[in-house]
Symmetry: D2
Subunit: 325 residues, 4 copies
């Protein structure tokens, strides 16, 4: 098993004690802490658990012990877990101050809890629009001040962290789910993190990425299923609705779905969104644009404000019918 020490605590006394007890101990460095690996079946190991340097003891048998045993409360802005579906919405990319203000006020009025908007975009082609970067962050913060909506923004590089100080929910995008250096740097901010599933990741790999985040300091992780890559390409990705109850059986972490990226086509956003909720998702993150045909990225899949309004109504009715709040 692994004795995970408190941040900055010294392993010296524990190692000394292991030596006295003839327990084979291996020292590891995990982020800003020490960890001591010892054999699982030693009888005398109990003596070690009382040392105040020890923060947690991790079993060898559970691959993601922090994820599995996580318990805590989840709250962001005016949303408290269990009170209703969590709605995160906004444009794929922040394109102008006017666009953002318009959509934010409309979403706020509809009861959306968190505003999303892309500043730095991860694009498959270097010739595609890469986001407005710092300027976009400034507008987002301004709109947050105007509307009191918390912000969810994807972060692509730890170099950008200083710009994200006022972002409420840091998003790790699907492409970066297994960028463990970024996971560590972001988790050290000790803020909640939205973790999208990489389209090729098994549920276990996804939960291991969440384990990195919890281990390095994130108070909670919002898991987000957004479609996996399969042979079927009539939609952009295959929304894996089964992963939602599977992940829920493995962990108490909250889980939502992103029907926009799974569909890649606005006509299929609603059925995928409703399917995800029926399968147990606690919320949705949806791309909404005041005028999708003019969008500089993901034009095909963004909903109009009116379309989104209908989705909210249907999803709310569906939850009520299933006696979920």
């Amino acid at each position: 098993m692994l004795l995970l020490l408190r941040a900055e605590a010294s392993p010296a006394s524990l190692l000394e004690r292991c030596k006295q007890l003839h327990i084979e101990a291996h020292l590891h460095r995990i982020g800003n802490r020490w960890a001591i690996q010892i054999p699982t079946n030693g009888h005398q190991t109990e003596a070690l658990f009382r040392y105040e340097e020890v923060e947690r003891i991790l079993s060898d048998e559970i691959p993601y012990p922090l994820v599995q045993r996580w318990e805590g409360s989840v709250q962001i802005g005016e949303w408290r877990r269990g009170s209703s579906l969590l709605w995160i919405a906004g444009p794929c990319s922040v394109e102008s101050r006017a666009q953002l203000v318009e959509v934010a006020y409309a979403l706020k009025e509809m009861g959306v809890h968190v505003l999303r908007g892309g500043a730095y975009k991860a694009r498959t082609s270097p010739y595609s629009f890469q986001g407005l970067g710092e300027e976009a962050i400034e507008w987002l913060l301004e709109v947050k001040a105007l509307t009191a909506l918390p912000l969810c923004v994807e972060i692509l590089s730890e170099r950008h962290l200083p710009l994200y100080d006022e972002i409420d929910l840091l998003q790790i995008g699907a492409r970066n789910m297994d960028n463990y250096q970024l996971l560590q740097a972001v988790a050290l901010q000790r803020k909640p993190i939205l973790l999208k599933r990489n389209p090729q990741a098994t549920v276990q790999e996804w939960l291991l990425a969440a384990e990195y985040l919890l281990l390095y300091g994130a108070p909670w992780v919002l898991l987000c299923e957004r479609g996996i890559r399969s042979f079927e390409r009539s939609l952009r990705y295959t929304l894996d609705v089964g992963a939602i109850p599977v992940a829920q059986r493995e962990s108490r972490l909250p889980i939502i779905a992103d029907p926009s990226h799974a569909a890649g086509d606005w006509r299929y956003v609603e059925p995928l969104a409703l399917a995800a909720i029926a399968a147990g998702a606690e919320g949705l993150i949806v791309e909404v644009h005041p005028n999708p045909s003019q969008a500089r990225s993901d034009a095909a899949q963004q909903l109009t404000i009116e379309q989104f309004k209908q989705l909210v109504q249907k999803a709310t009715a569906l939850c009520a019918a299933l006696s979920r709040s």
Copy 2:
């Protein structure tokens, strides 16, 4: 385009007329009819359409013209399309007369419309239970007589067709979706067919299999999504909920889902079932067994009668909430 002639009609006059008009014509045999392929852009081709031998004209551009243009009413037993969800339920395999009678009466009482039960089973291993065959069919017919429930039974070989005379809904299983010889033979019975999607088939390939069925005589085809094979194996298959609205955009054929085979585990049948309905499925086919732990096949995924009852209630509430009948 393709001039599809009526069954048994002679192509001679049409071929003669093509010759006079200098239209290049190719003769094909499709089942028990002739078909004449002619170039799409001929002006004089209209003259040909009036021949009474011509039953239908199929465009070259639509890969599955009969599927795409299909319109008709769908009714089986006491279920009429649009009146409610279609429920097909029953044990994976018929195992005894007593088992079947018990489950059939219970399902009937719950409002199930069609009884399913396996007689000949397609098993990956030759050493697995292969079904009771003819004896199972006899019990099914007896139970149909007792309960007035229509029957849905999978057929594995055209050799078995004589035994399936009284079966109301012939099922083509996932493994046989691209067994075109079987599709043709079964479609010639001119009965409705439940067509499961092969776990590796694209939506287009699935609809092409349905095209075989309509072309060879099936009045309607009940499409059934039952999970595709992807890299993710935490459940047995990946239920492709997106395929439901995609297939609905391509065709007016009815579509249901099979959450039991997708999940492979009874604990996940309900979330997958609800997800499929939220995505637009018009019904479900579910494996239900009076005592699943004793089942001779698919023990892990069959629901008890009580579990199924809860599923029916939730699914019905969900449909009501979405204002679907």
Copy 3:
């Protein structure tokens, strides 16, 4: 374990003996024989093995015992296993007597061991060319008489079996790998069978299909890897070269590859063919047409006779370099 009885042998004495020994026995019917399932760990079970009714004892732990323990010699026409690569070649579809004669003589001269040619074709669309059927078989037999080349022809339905009496190597196509009714019917002919892997089948499922064939009477099975379905679609399928050594570790059955269907494009047939041989394939089945651009099916992927000649030369050199015959 499973006591597999000789064809037509009665299980009565064995069941009686089990009863005396208080061994719990379950009787199964597998094709035209009886099989008796007994617990693995019984000490007294040895007494049963000596009964002459028992043909084989199958362990519970190995899913495909006949495949795993298969040993035997493999020979077809002038080819004997180990003497050289096995070459099976010919057109996708038999289109005319002239086409077949031309290609057969050319292939014979190049050292091809078996002539392939499609008579009944499994086509995704009912509007595609479905093969010339009986007429094609007649021409194939005529060409066999002229050239002494053994024939490999795919069979789609047990209904066609009477036409395949003189076919030397019966082919189960990829779409029918899990059509277990067809596997049984074909295996009962007691001829060698070429078994293509279904593009969605795991190696284990493929070997279980071979187990059906050996169990029902095939003397040997020629396994054929022809590409699996993955998300990558720049070629038609993904040739799974790793499956070749994996299957070879599980069984001594011969294994070849089909680069034509994996590639779907003649320009990629050669690299895939060479890769398969380098990975350990013992032979190849290749589509060759005297004039591919005129082919009625698979026009894009068939090699010309000249292109095929170069492939044979390179593959032969490659084998020599690896000191394989």
Copy 4:
């Protein structure tokens, strides 16, 4: 089309000229340069191409113009493209100075061209060995000094770049192929880069990642196929040998394969390696460890020095047989 300006060149004159010509121009920032997007079909656009600020003109129709048109020479250490197979070998992780020195001398003697070794490791679990980091880099540089072997080391974060100054071939691992921020930062070093294909990337997405690298300054990119994720899990990944000739048709960039990570099991490294070469790979990157059973990562898949020696011999013979150098 896109007018890509020289690094640091001002777009002002060009924009002015566009205005005069009534050409609609959009300004983009790509790394440290400006780019001007103009309509493709303008007649007067030729006037713009002569401006010395313009470095390149990129067509809209080719998604990766730099990759497609790349031509140049490739050389690293003593290896020159076309002279022989390129061999990159070494341990998964650098574990000790002694381990590294032993393996490096042995590989050098066998003709290996580049030494690989992991310093910072991307591990699915935070509890797995994460590499020795800076210490590993120091030993690698020491061994480079001793043996004159160039080094290939994976880089996980731009934060580590200062440590990689003397690394000859910077490796972008599979997990970071679509970490575009890292691609840009690494490419700005203007060194050759080994780019592994992400197991879920299409060939087109892989080449677009290479486009990022060329656009941001890499002189050449060594493409590396290392297996894709499919449903088949009997090996760790599915080596996509077809991707090798497909990528070669799209680009003149060199391409090698990594059989170690594809196999995940030393017993299958050789057949996959030979298959990749037969399909056209120009070299291999192989994990070799003096004592694999003691390895701290990837113990199952590393070859012993002796096993690697045999692989080199077979691969060399295979190339000779195919008249490739």
